[in-house]
Symmetry: D2
Subunit: 151 residues, 4 copies
């Protein structure tokens, strides 16, 4: 494959500040030439897709439900799994490295699955657990995630 | 979503003639502007992706395993599900309509799941069961699948 | 494991005659000392569980949804997968051999997955496709399925 | 369903002390008349199943692989999902409440999925995150888990 794929994980809610961070993450992923994979719904997922789309990138949305029409409007490639929360594993297997933005228990389960699967996770204002690499800002997170994909 | 997604299902083996049919199907899907989704591996899947790629289309490969490196070289968007045969359901949920080319039991299970899920299946030299619309050639199959996506 | 596990597949509808056949299959499985695994819902699944329960057997219901309360009243061991149709693969992986009673496309997809997975399928008034062993009556189907589990 | 189902989660490794705790948890679940569901493999899972089996209980093992022969010898009801880590969701959907014993990232992902799914999790020497109810000993954990199932 010629392109890296970076996963962005985070909640379907998220206040203005969190969505701004996610938007920036998506934008920087697209500017690097990498693709973005996420859960394809609202909140952090939508903001990240919007950032990537506006920078000319490609966004993959791995959906919980059975219909591609559930995807947010900034998803280029909708994948309807019908697996519910099980779709989180598909995101993690598909991404070369992950960036977690804020989030609650769904995000925590994704972080834990990712670390268990040997994928590196870079955190922006998310759960502070052993195994996550805390980052200061979107730029640091995206740069480190791109490097982690090379390994 | 601005683009239709057509699923192509069929075996990972497949003789010269079957692969030529699959290639033609992929080419016609791409020429119509639709995206192609398949299992991302060899045989019918690879031939269809090659046809679509060479016509400038976008190919999505929904893989059985946990690594995107399993995808054939003509897959643009690899999705690593880690679900084994369960990935067939993801293909069917993602596609608006499906074209079955030859194939054995894996293809039959996909055909049956598709019909059960209310998706139309167009057949080219595949299982002759009630519920499949048999087609004479790739052109007929792709045209009908594109129409079925509109409904 | 000390006990064989026989899968029973078939539709959630099913007329009186079909349900009577499924009941008999369940009863004979239980009388042999084997366990029964099925989709845990209505129709063929419920009739088979009822037959097994009334003969003192153990019934496992692999459910589509996220709640064990979806199980029919004759399921001893409810398993809530949350996987939708994907639960069919769990039934097939768990069973040593399968008996298909009547059924439509959901059953056909299970039959095809089973054959693809190398499990033998014994049919009672179900799809007539290559690879299924057609049986005359519940007794023949259960005896042959028990033998197939030994291999 | 007449019986409660308690989930036990924890790693496939685990030292002597951890396995002793898991054994005790399994024993107390069985003595209460509840069933035990777990991942069916080694370490905490095996110790808990052994405790339950020796107290006359019923143990359900939700396996990662496609073969029921992967189950530890104390599993009564093996369920082969073929879903890899995705089987964790099946454990959580099936259990009325969960007890986490020690464990690393696999356990953390299960804990997070459980809380996200609205299931209560009782912890014995495991991750110390918001949302888990820390318990002093197996007796406290099993009593509280049984109560949580009633809600």
């Amino acid at each position: 494959l010629s392109k890296k794929i970076i996963g962005v994980i985070g909640g379907s809610a998220g206040d203005e500040k969190v969505r701004k961070t996610a938007y920036e993450v998506g934008k920087l992923i697209a500017e690097s030439g990498a693709m973005l994979v996420c859960g394809g719904l609202s909140g952090v997922m939508e903001a990240a897709c919007k950032g990537a789309r506006e920078a000319g990138g490609t966004t993959i949305g791995i959906l919980k439900g059975q219909s591609i029409s559930d995807a947010n409007p900034y998803v280029d490639i909708p994948v309807a799994t019908g697996l519910g929360h099980g779709r989180n594993l598909v995101i993690i297997n598909t991404a070369g490295a992950l960036i977690a933005v804020s989030g609650r228990y769904g995000t925590l389960s994704e972080i834990a699955f990712a670390i268990q699967s040997g994928k590196q996770v870079f955190g922006l204002g998310t759960w502070d657990i052993e195994g996550i690499a805390k980052c200061e800002n979107p730029k640091e997170a995206v740069e480190k995630a791109l490097q982690a994909c090379e390994i």
